[in-house]
């Protein structure tokens, strides 16, 4: 970890109110600290409800923590901003705009002239394989293509960090694989810092430099693992590597323990 992290959470606590006034509520995050170095690809792995999306919402600036510090390049985060791009589980494209206008939404909001962003837009449309669909509308595209447009839209403004909230969770298995390869390929050319939330162990091991495993209720970072595999990675080679199996086994063990814990706490 470098001396000034690109993005950091320091001792963050967060509680959601219960359904009625005076009910106990839910401690979503308890003393969570994490830091990402510049250019790092980190996966946040955990079961549903462990607070991993809450961490992204805090970093995006949608929510404020009860306690603790959120820093981007050492500066506190207090509102959403274009230097922190986000890709959501749903594409959330704007159906009234063409694919090109969706992708260039960021620079257009910043008041940039078309000449300045057009070359970048063409480059990103090519990178995500949508160059022939630039004038289509989102509702004319398949689910995978929409998510690729969303990826290009978040990436085009060249953010300091990309926050990804299970962006491939709603896609079928084949499309998901293709998207994972696409994502790492673009990342290797741009080296944008990425914090990627997922509950899929294989996805985390394929994508990340480092995996953070979360535990649920209260949410905290339970374990941290370096992913040693060289890039570019291919899923076939990874599966054949005995180290991959060991790493996956170790993570599955932790994830299963956490799942059992949260089931018990629900039952109790």
């Amino acid at each position: 970890m470098s001396s000034v992290a690109r993005i950091a959470l320091n001792h963050v606590f967060m509680r959601f109110d219960g359904p009625t006034v005076g009910s106990p509520g839910n401690q979503v995050l308890s003393d969570v600290s994490l830091a990402l170095a510049d250019g790092e690809f980190v996966c946040l792995l955990g079961s549903s409800g462990c607070g991993k999306s809450t961490i992204l919402n805090l970093l995006a600036g949608f929510d404020k923590p009860d306690q603790g510090e959120l820093l981007l390049d050492g500066r506190p985060i207090d509102a959403p901003g274009p230097e922190r791009g986000m890709v959501f589980q749903q594409p959330t494209l704007f159906p009234w705009l063409s694919v090109r206008d969706n992708v260039t939404f960021g620079p257009r909001m910043a008041g940039q002239s078309a000449e300045r962003y057009q070359a970048d837009a063409d480059r990103f449309l090519r990178l995500v394989g949508l160059q022939d669909f630039a004038s289509h509308f989102p509702w004319q595209l398949s689910g995978g293509m929409r998510q690729r447009a969303a990826l290009a839209r978040a990436w085009l403004p060249n953010p300091e960090i990309l926050l990804m909230d299970e962006p491939f969770g709603a896609l079928d298995a084949q499309t998901r694989l293709a998207m994972q390869e696409l994502l790492t390929r673009i990342w290797q050319t741009t080296r944008t810092t990425i914090l990627f939330v997922t509950h899929d162990v294989d996805e985390a091991l394929f994508l990340a430099d480092r995996v953070l495993i979360m535990s649920a209720s209260p949410g905290r970072i339970r374990e941290e693992l370096q992913v040693p595999f060289e890039r570019p990675r291919s899923l076939e080679d990874l599966v054949a590597d005995p180290a991959y199996g060991q790493l996956k086994r170790r993570i599955l063990h932790v994830v299963r323990e956490e799942a059992a814990k949260s089931l018990n706490s629900v039952a109790a």
């Binding site: 959330t92 960021g106 995978g144 499309t175």
Partner: protein, 279 residues
């Protein structure tokens, strides 16, 4: 699987099935036309075969003859087209004024809960009120000229446009707003680039409904001491038992309302093609 194969998979769009493409396109219009024709034939037979007294229900042929007569010699010294034009002009002026004032006020109410809290009691009290109840007051306030008729049509469409526009603003999803925020949109841009386009389909729907309501109150408006207009013609002819003129007026009122809605649907398809589409 390689990258290109994966991308090819996601790009594969199912080809549209070509089975009876034309029939599928014309199926519903054909059924509609068939139903109307059948209805007209039975209606005509009811008169031609004397099932019903022609005074109670004049058949289409008689209404057509009446239309020809009124076109050439007019009803009560006023040509038929003038009755039609006067009613349409009254309604259109009121619609334009209602849309031009109701949409901005409704949008502001949707954006500002404070403003909504201040205006809602009045809007919600007046909106369901039968506008006929206002006629005596309207005559006292505006006299029996065009002002009274304008006001009655205006107020009934205006109130539903306000309510519809306010609801349309609130229909924007948090996810879309958040996506725009992470792309750097400020508050003003969130409104002009997300909330407004997002509200347009619902705005169109509420304008369509309101124009229907406004057209309905045309009769109420023309009950206010008018001497021209389709609504007046229907009421006046009724008191002389001219059921053929009454039915002709009803048919014209209905067709005009239908036409207004048809124009709006075409505009909606053209200007808001994303209606009902998710992305």
């Amino acid at each position: 699987m390689t990258l290109s194969q994966g991308l090819a998979n996601t790009q594969a769009r199912p080809e549209p099935v070509r089975v009876d493409h034309r029939w599928r396109r014309w199926k519903h219009p054909t059924i509609s036309c068939g139903a109307v024709t059948l209805f007209l034939v039975i209606w005509q037979l009811s008169g031609s075969l004397h099932w019903v007294d022609a005074l109670l229900l004049p058949p289409p042929s008689e209404i057509l003859a009446t239309a020809g007569e009124l076109l050439s010699s007019g009803y009560r010294q006023t040509p038929l087209w003038e009755h039609f034009a006067i009613s349409t002009a009254r309604a259109l002026t009121a619609f334009v004024a209602a849309i031009a004032s109701g949409v901005p006020i409704g949008l502001c109410m949707g954006l500002s809960p404070t403003l909504a809290a201040g205006l809602n009691p009045f809007v919600q009290f007046l909106r369901p009120l039968p506008k006929i109840a206002l006629i005596p007051l309207v005559i006292v306030w505006f006299g029996i000229g065009e002002g009274a008729k304008f006001f009655l049509i205006f107020i009934s469409s205006f109130l539903s446009i306000v309510v519809g526009s306010a609801a349309a603003v609130l229909g924007v999803s948090q996810a879309r707003l958040r996506a725009a925020q992470t792309l750097g949109a400020n508050r003003r841009q969130l409104f002009t680039h997300v909330v407004l386009p997002n509200a347009l389909p619902e705005l169109f729907t509420s304008v369509r409904l309101s124009i229907g309501i406004g057209w309905t109150s045309l009769i109420a408006a023309e009950m206010v001491a008018a001497n021209s207009g389709l609504g007046w013609m229907v009421i006046n002819a009724g008191s002389y038992l001219r059921t053929d003129v009454v039915l002709l007026g009803i048919v014209l009122l209905g067709l005009t309302g239908y036409f207004f809605d048809w124009v709006l649907v075409r505009l909606q398809r053209r200007w808001v093609p994303w209606t009902g589409k998710d992305a």
